[in-house]
């Protein structure tokens, strides 16, 4: 898989660090954002290929809303990672092309497979 620029929006720092290391290990460039505002700003600046978003974020915008903005404004493909199984989220994800959902707790292998799927 070609190296990607990945925007990682995860408000849990341990998971963010682990993911960043795992992704960088696979040769990707990872930009970490801690909230939706940062995510939008970094997207404008770095034009990422993929955004990995935690669906339930603690700040003012939820993952789904952010995903929509990223998709429409910056044409970013989105991988939602979540610990919850919300039916409406799955439906939305299926509705938008280039969106995948990965359920926590996931393995590195699963993350890798998902990324491969999303950039196909």
């Amino acid at each position: 898989m070609r190296p990607l620029t990945i925007l990682l929006v995860e408000d849990e720092p341990v998971i963010a660090l682990d993911l960043r290391m795992a992704l960088e290990q696979h040769g990707h460039r990872v930009i970490c954002a801690h909230d939706a505002g940062e995510a939008l700003a970094f997207s404008a600046r770095y034009l990422p290929d993929v955004a990995i978003l935690n669906f339930l974020m603690q700040h003012n915008m939820d993952g789904m809303e952010l995903a929509q903005l990223l998709r429409t404004r910056f044409l970013v493909r989105v991988l939602m990672v979540t610990g919850s199984r919300w039916e409406d989220m799955e439906a939305s994800a299926q509705f938008y092309a280039g969106t995948e959902v990965l359920y926590k707790p996931f393995t590195r292998r699963q993350l890798k497979e998902c990324l491969e799927d999303i950039v196909k």
Partner: protein, 685 residues
């Protein structure tokens, strides 16, 4: 009774003629006619014509009607509605006098309508005249109903007339109405009431100073006493009083009528000579006034009296033949028929059967025409007797008998019909009452049922509302619970992810191989559990794990962890489709994790290729069987399970115990472990 009724009807008809009977009309008519020819003023002309209409009642009905029609057209022209109403009313009287009931009713109705319009336009200077005319019209309508034997309507009209008359302050209509009401009571055999009414009428006429009315009241009081109460002496007193008044008024026609009544009273008292005298007096006056009907009545009464007196046949024949002549002239068919019957009877008594037959035969068509079935049946029966016994003509006798039977039946049927009608009326009434009662009952039941249903409905509604509320509360609580469970699981999953990340991050800082190995194994164990949690809550059953999908994921993850994704070592699966409960799936997942890890770590040293086989099924004994086998180096290269002190092996022992299973090492080429679990829980699908 029939006769009495007829007499009453005639009397009531006379009531309407009061004005014209009071004075000698002819001179008045003549002078008015002269006046009329000179008049040019329309209103005055209407007035005179109206007077002429009234005055001509007795002398010439046709003329009276003609005057009436003129008043109608002129008053319509001038808009004199009072004159119009009065003309209509009097035209109604003219028509009823010749038994033209339909036309009479039409005129009365028109008069009533006009009077009502006038009454509504209150404040007129003719208010009392209007009310008087209105009362008179309503009273006449009451009389009309009386002729039609509609006693209820008659009574209500007459009562209304009395009210109106009292309101107008001119009580003539009241007195007249009381008179007719008295006749109605007589017909109903309520003589006390009849007397009371007539006395009341008398009082009213006395108040009014209406001599003719007083005379008529005395006459009626006499009739009630004689005809119904058998007090003919008392009746004669009233008749005399009446007669004196009528004499004073010069009303000879009316006097003739009283003479007739006096004759009847004397006949009843068996004073036959006196009776004959009064009948003759009546006849004389009738002849004098030219009233042929009254004359015929007198002759008829006298003829019957002579029969009772046993007068010679010739005299009797003579008087009856005279009666027949007069009746013919007056076109008085009832009297003529009665005359033929009397002649037939007299000739039969005399033995002149042919003449008798002729008279009876003359009576038959007349009686038929009159629909007088009692006359008809008498005539036909006598004809049968004549043919059968005296004329010896059995053929005609039979014909007469048949005819008699038919007419007799008619009489009988008429009576029977009346009886049946009475009975059926009674039956219908009772039936209606029963139906009403039944309907009442049904209604009552329906009402009870309605309220019962309403009650039930109310209770159901209240119950339903409570149930709805309860369900909503329960659903809300359920949703809250579900949300909480999902929230907890979310945290668990997140923490497992954090745990896995922590172990990975930690491994990056460990230099010692054994420690690194331990941490990685720990991480694998966390992932083995994490995969179960990842698969949870996908279906309706929140605690179910689909084992096939899970074990494939677990296998791949382990291959990945040991960096064996180069197909050197393969994992094959023989898995029965199973959904296990999370409480079974987690220890089972950990056991498999340990056994596969063992195989991957030790079975294929030195870059050796091979296969690890994971099998899971339920055996015939209902136990859950797990076999993890490899075709690797086998026992010698693997740690001894039972006596092993390694943590992985202990973990397998520990977890197998929990699921009531004992690991067995199978004797194969490589290394195989079989565990049969007794304590496991399948998930509801």
């Amino acid at each position: 009774m029939q006769t009495t009724k007829t007499i009453h009807a005639v009397l009531v008809a006379l009531v309407a003629l009061i004005p014209c009977l009071l004075v000698a009309q002819t001179p008045a008519i003549d002078s008015l006619t002269k006046v009329l020819s000179r008049l040019t003023d329309l209103e005055k002309k209407i007035e005179v014509l109206g007077e002429l209409q009234k005055l001509s009642f007795n002398s010439d009905l046709e003329k009276s009607k003609a005057y009436g029609y003129q008043v109608v057209s002129l008053s319509k022209l001038t808009g004199n509605n009072l004159a119009l109403a009065t003309a209509y009313k009097d035209l109604g009287v003219s028509h009823i006098m010749v038994s033209n009931f339909d036309s009479s009713w039409q005129y009365y109705s028109l008069a009533k309508l006009e009077y009502e319009k006038l009454v509504q336009r209150s404040g007129s200077k003719d208010q009392s005249k209007i009310l008087e005319g209105y009362a008179g019209t309503v009273s006449n309508m009451g009389n009309w109903y009386y002729y039609q034997s509609n006693m209820d309507s008659a009574t209500s009209c007459l009562q209304r007339a009395i009210e109106l008359s009292e309101a107008s302050g001119i009580l003539k209509a009241k007195a007249n109405s009381l008179g007719t009401l008295s006749f109605i009571f007589m017909d109903q055999l309520r003589y006390d009431h009849a007397l009371e009414m007539q006395l009341e009428a008398l009082k009213t006429f006395e108040k009014l100073g209406n001599q003719d009315g007083i005379a008529r009241s005395y006459q009626s009081l006499g009739q009630i006493n004689c005809d119904f109460l058998d007090k003919c002496d008392l009746a004669l007193g009233y008749y005399r009083k009446s007669l004196n008044l009528k004499k004073g008024l010069g009303n000879e026609r009316s006097m003739a009528y009283v003479f007739r009544l006096m004759g009847d009273a004397h006949q009843k008292l068996m004073a036959l000579d006196s009776a004959a005298f009064y009948f003759e007096s009546a006849m004389q006056l009738a002849e004098k006034t030219g009233d042929k009907r009254l004359l015929a009545d007198g002759l008829s009464a006298l003829a019957m009296l002579w029969g009772d007196q046993g007068k010679p046949y010739l005299q009797r024949i003579e008087i009856v033949e005279r009666l027949a002549r007069v009746a013919k002239e007056a076109e008085y068919d009832q009297a003529l028929c009665s005359a033929y019957l009397s002649l037939g009877e007299i000739y039969m008594e005399q033995g002149d059967y042919v003449k008798s037959k002729t008279n009876y035969e003359l009576a038959v068509p007349l009686a038929t025409q009159l629909k007088n079935y009692s006359f008809l049946s008498v005539a036909q029966f006598q004809l049968y007797t004549l043919y059968n016994e005296h004329l010896k003509d059995p053929g005609r006798a039979l014909g007469a008998l048949q005819a008699y039977l038919v007419s007799h039946d008619s009489v009988f049927n008429a009576e029977k019909f009346q009886a049946v009608e009475d009975v059926s009326t009674k039956y219908e009434t009772e039936k209606k009452e029963a139906t009403i009662a039944q309907q009442e009952l049904v209604l009552q039941q329906q009402r009870t049922r309605f309220w019962f249903i309403m009650g039930i409905l109310g209770l159901s509604l209240a119950g339903g509302a409570m149930l709805f509320r309860l369900t909503r509360i329960l659903r809300q609580r359920n949703q809250e619970k579900e949300f909480l469970i999902k929230e907890i699981h979310h945290r668990v999953k997140n923490n497992l992810q954090v745990l896995s990340s922590l172990l990975y991050l930690q491994s990056k800082h460990i230099k010692d191989d054994a420690a690194l190995d331990a941490v990685r194994e720990g991480q694998n164990r966390v992932e083995a559990m994490g995969l179960i949690h990842q698969k949870l809550y996908m279906g309706d059953n929140l605690a179910a794990v689909e084992m096939r999908d899970y074990l494939h994921n677990l296998g791949d993850t382990l291959l990945d962890a040991f960096r064996l994704d180069d197909n050197r070592i393969k994992i094959t699966y023989h898995l029965e489709p199973l959904h296990l409960d999370v409480d079974t799936a987690i220890p089972l997942g950990l056991i498999i994790n340990e056994l596969v890890t063992n195989a991957l770590k030790y079975a294929f040293p030195d870059g050796r290729e091979g296969v690890v086989e994971i099998s899971l099924w339920k055996n015939d004994a209902g136990k859950l069987c797990l076999k993890v086998a490899d075709n690797g180096v086998g026992r010698h290269g693997a740690p001894e399970l039972k006596n092993s002190t390694s943590f992985g092996t202990s973990l397998v022992q520990l977890l197998s115990k929990k699921l009531k299973g004992a690991p067995q090492v199978l004797d194969t080429d490589g290394y195989a472990t079989l565990i049969e679990f007794e304590n496991f829980k399948e998930a509801r699908k």
